[in-house]
């Protein structure tokens, strides 16, 4: 990305309409991240059909606002009512809620905001500088290597799941959905089960909305409204003034600049690992901050460094997770998997050539990620901080009824087909049952998105080699990714175990 491109991207993000979409994305992200049960992944899934009428750059700018704010705002309920809004905010709740009980809840949110802003902004800068290097490497990958790369992504997603067999089944379900319709290599229809409407296949939006939104609106029927209102009442009792949010310089010095730097780097590089995600980043950075602290005994008692480390790391993940997604077409977490869906909506095929062919359209996304991290501090500390507590008091009936209507209409908006709406409902019901039984939804969506690429690369390689599979082991790029798959298969479960141990210890 050269200076001219950066300048153009800044100009595009600074257009009034782009800024408006960024702010809309930001506030949607804050609401979805702060409300237990809602996630930024769901927010992007709901916004996906609405992006159809926008230029790609604006759609991505809005998604970046949702992504950054969604990860950040998990800390709000984690600190105030001890219920992490996102899995990445679990460690924040340990220290933050302890501070809350001491009457320093606003200050805890202040520490979390400053750390999130630093982590997110530096993570975005690292993304801008590292992407070109990653692109150069990615361009060296040829067709057999591309298959091994997709295979690597799918395997990693299975490895990090709690139950690997269930993850394989979810992945197979997603891959199966992706194969329905016209076979692009031979242009013949397949797997239509006699339905002519299936000849064109199942739309990605249909599957994403079904898997994330419709399954969630079914799950929410199981939540008692009275129990949820109790959370709102707990938040209602809290009142913060603006000045309470600002930590003193002495307190910031106590956290230490090294904690911010270390946690950002940990978060960014854990984000780069496909499938690792914000929760692992926050666990690892918390454990690192505690082990390198001069006062480790203070951790667990409401210590600001224990808030700054995980918050810095989980927001730095945003930039890191975009590296494999943009350069290799591998999403780093659930949100980036859905973000790949946005690319597909615009006919953009994820993969190593993406940044070289569509860089001009994607560059505003980088800047938007940086801006959404940078505005966290002024918006949260100076303007809206005291009102964040009221998010939990939003009428749940109104919110979920609106989400239900928007989700189903979203499928119609994307496909103009009532049949696809029915498919979304069927997928939603299936995913609701599968999720209830512990089948993870992310491998499913990864199967939907990477399935067509996986098939294309596999069949092309085998066709050219007359069915010879040894090419996957003789081509150096392909061999590299296969070896990497084995390394990850051994190493990732260990890292997962370590981060879980850190969480239990804390």
């Amino acid at each position: 990305m050269d200076a001219q491109m950066v300048l153009n991207a800044i100009m595009q993000v600074c257009e009034p309409l782009s800024l408006l979409y960024l702010f809309i994305g930001f506030f949607v992200g804050v609401i979805f991240g702060a409300m237990p049960g809602l996630t930024s992944t769901l927010a992007i899934a709901l916004l996906l059909p609405m992006t159809y009428s926008m230029p790609l750059s604006r759609a991505l700018v809005m998604c970046m606002g949702v992504y950054m704010a969604g990860i950040y705002s998990g800390c709000i309920t984690a600190i105030t009512i001890n219920i992490p809004g996102t899995p990445g905010a679990v460690m924040t709740s340990i220290e933050g809620h302890a501070m809350m009980k001491r009457g320093e809840g606003a200050k805890a949110i202040g520490h979390a905001t400053i750390a999130s802003s630093i982590g997110g902004a530096v993570g975005a800068l690292l993304l801008i500088f590292i992407s070109p290097l990653a692109v150069k490497l990615a361009l060296m990958v040829r067709t057999p290597g591309k298959f091994s790369l997709v295979f690597f992504a799918l395997i990693v997603m299975v490895i990090i799941s709690k139950n690997k067999y269930k993850a394989v089944v979810a992945l197979a379900f997603g891959l199966a959905c992706a194969t329905i319709g016209v076979d692009k290599l031979k242009t013949v229809s397949r797997l239509t089960f006699g339905f002519t409407q299936l000849v064109e296949g199942i739309d990605t939006t249909t599957l994403i909305v079904g898997a994330f939104a419709i399954s969630e609106i079914i799950s929410q029927a199981l939540v008692s409204n009275a129990e949820y209102e109790k959370l709102g009442e707990a938040a209602n009792k809290l009142k913060f003034k603006r000045k309470d949010f600002f930590p003193s310089l002495k307190e910031l010095k106590e956290v230490g600049i090294l904690t911010y730097i270390k946690s950002t780097i940990i978060g960014f590089f854990i984000g780069v690992l496909p499938g690792a995600g914000a929760s692992m980043a926050s666990f690892v950075s918390y454990a690192t901050a505690q082990s390198s602290s001069k006062t480790p005994e203070k951790f667990g008692t409401g210590y600001p460094a224990g808030i700054a480390a995980p918050e810095c790391a989980n927001n730095a993940v945003c930039g890191g997770a975009l590296v494999p997604m943009l350069t290799l077409g591998i999403p780093g977490d659930g949100t980036t998997a859905v973000l790949l869906g946005v690319f597909l909506v615009y006919g953009i095929v994820p993969g190593p050539n993406l940044l070289t062919t569509r860089m001009a359209e994607l560059a505003p996304m980088y800047i938007a990620l940086f801006v959404s991290a940078a505005i966290l501090m002024p918006l949260s500390l100076y303007l809206f901080g005291p009102y964040y507590l009221k998010i939990v008091r939003i009428n749940r009936l109104v919110l979920y009824s609106a989400i239900s209507l928007a989700a189903i209409l979203g499928v119609y908006a994307a496909t103009a087909s009532v049949f696809q709406m029915g498919i979304a409902l069927a997928v939603g019901v299936a995913m609701y049952f599968l999720k209830k039984e512990g089948y993870p939804p992310v491998p499913f969506i990864l199967g939907v998105i990477l399935g067509p690429l996986c098939e294309q690369y596999l069949r092309t390689t085998l066709t050219l080699g007359q069915g010879n599979v040894s090419v996957f082991f003789t081509e150096p790029d392909s061999l590299f990714f296969l070896v990497l798959t084995v390394v990850f298969a051994v190493w990732l479960p260990r890292l997962n175990k370590k981060s879980e141990t850190a969480a239990v210890k804390a």
Binding site: K166, I218, L222, N225
Partner: protein, 155 residues
């Protein structure tokens, strides 16, 4: 026999039925490999093999667990019925959307969802007011901002 009818057994069994139907449909098109060249049923066959192996592991371990443990009557959560109501409401909305149009079906759907999500039918006037507001906001958002036309009974 009853202990073998738990969700742990029925879910992988259902998945297996789906996978068999899937591969059977795929095989209607062509053989997986013709003259060393993979055909359109090749990839679905691989998906079937991978999925079926993992699913059989789950099925066998669920059978083993069921054999070792006594049948325990699953606690019935009365709210499970609410999940069913959500599905029925959504299915009815989708079925009637094309026939009756947005203006008639959407408010009824939103109102029904509010009743389902609430613990008991209460504050009906408030719910009606919110229904009108939600429907209006979503209608304006989609038709005016995103330029999407919904089916209407008069159109």
């Amino acid at each position: 026999m009853k202990k073998y009818l738990s969700k742990d057994v029925l879910t992988p069994a259902g998945v297996l039925v789906f996978l068999i139907a899937y591969v059977f449909e795929a095989m209607q098109n062509s053989a997986p490999i013709v003259n060393g060249v993979p055909q359109e049923s090749f990839f679905p066959l691989i998906i079937f093999i991978a999925g079926a192996i993992a699913d059989l592991f789950l099925l066998v371990s669920a059978f083993k667990n069921a054999k070792e443990t006594e049948a325990v009557a699953e606690e019935k959560n009365p709210r499970n019925l609410k999940a069913l109501y959500v599905v029925i409401a959504a299915a009815a909305f989708i079925f009637l959307f094309d026939l009756l149009g947005f203006m008639i079906v959407a408010p009824i759907f939103v109102f029904a969802m509010m009743l389902i999500y609430d613990d008991r039918p209460q504050q009906i006037p408030k719910k009606i007011l919110f229904t009108i507001l939600i429907t209006a906001v979503i209608y304006v958002l989609y038709t005016q901002v995103f330029d999407i036309n919904f089916p209407e009974i008069w159109r």
